[in-house]
Symmetry: C2
Subunit: 211 residues, 2 copies
């Protein structure tokens, strides 16, 4: 199962709204927000309406109200516990990544790795060997894992996670994972994200090619 | 300027094609590839056609041919040099991130940070203080920067990069950046990517809500 695009858009809107709020705005029209987010005003209104968020065609949306409603939609996330599998440089960076919108949230509760050296090192989360993965997931009701292992082991580790009951995977490995239909995968391919920009920017002293 | 969606899709197709190739397939139909990538068969054909990639309605596309054409489209990226600004945990992880499709590419040539301690540490790329940023960018014709600084300094550092001639920014800071129209920003918000999955996966023993 893939990430729902409307959920992704709501999070983008939230970022845009924070920016508008910091600029001193109290209200926003759907076309302003749409322009900032790169979507049509119609899409904005449709997304908000789908989640029970109302506005006023003449007056626009109240920014504080929007932020409150958006935070409420994602409030249930507070109960989630997440593990990282693969505690290399990326896993380490992610374990220290500050998340949270209204406050700092600590979703990530543990890391796992096959390398005994990583298990001995001091991280800000406990790091366990792979042989206790299943026990940990079941004892702590973990549903979500971040996969930050080399490409060559990604599918195998993914299969293990699915067998252990994981239902959501944030995948940093540059492979397309095979998962059952009820497992959600969010692929984050940092190399491809970089390739996108590189492709659009001319490396020499010419202006970049426009849309 | 935002990332062109068709470019992002081509990179996704490439990942899917690598998977098919590893599974032993020689040919692929647009509907197979579309199903894997989460887009319509029509979109696949339209994207390929736009980039001069041809297929055969009855026989489908030859996978090796597709991969060769896709690699060719992104071959010009080999000449790009990229810097990282902000050498915290994420900057460090990114400086070690192996990129490359046919071979390992080293796009990232230098890092910058305000913290003198980071400049003394051994990284696999040279790390310089911010006061030499402009000189370095100009001397090395750098067009692309990865921004991995705290949210509070992101806009200020972004403005510096733009003044120095940067035309593409991969932004890891959770803020919407203000840039001139000719500067491309690719936002990578890892917290929001995680929030997406968390929202879609029920933290208790219920099956996740479907589309």
């Amino acid at each position: 199962m893939k990430i729902k695009k409307n959920i992704k858009r709501l999070l983008l809107y939230r970022l845009c709204l924070v920016k508008f709020k910091e600029m001193g705005f109290k209200k926003v029209y759907s076309y302003n927000l749409g322009h900032e987010a790169g979507v049509s005003a119609e899409q904005i209104r449709k997304d908000f309406s789908q989640f029970g968020i109302t506005g006023n065609k003449k007056g626009g949306y109240d920014i504080e109200y929007l932020l409150e409603r958006l935070n409420h939609i994602f409030k249930k996330n507070e109960h989630q516990k997440v593990i990282i599998v693969g505690m290399g440089n990326m896993g380490y960076a992610l374990s220290h990544y500050e998340c949270g919108f209204t406050e700092t949230k600590k979703y990530i509760v543990a890391g796992f790795d096959i390398d005994p050296m990583k298990i001995k090192m001091t991280y800000n989360i406990p790091v366990f060997p792979m042989n206790v993965l299943r026990t940990y997931i079941r004892e702590h009701n973990i549903r979500i894992a971040i996969l930050a292992v080399p490409a060559i082991s990604a599918q195998e580790v993914c299969a293990k996670l699915v067998v252990c009951g994981i239902k959501g995977i944030m995948n940093f490995s540059p492979v397309i994972l095979q998962v059952p239909d009820d497992v959600i995968v969010n692929n984050v391919n940092l190399c491809d994200e970089l390739e996108c920009i590189m492709h659009m920017v001319d490396p020499v002293d010419n202006p970049p090619t426009g849309e």
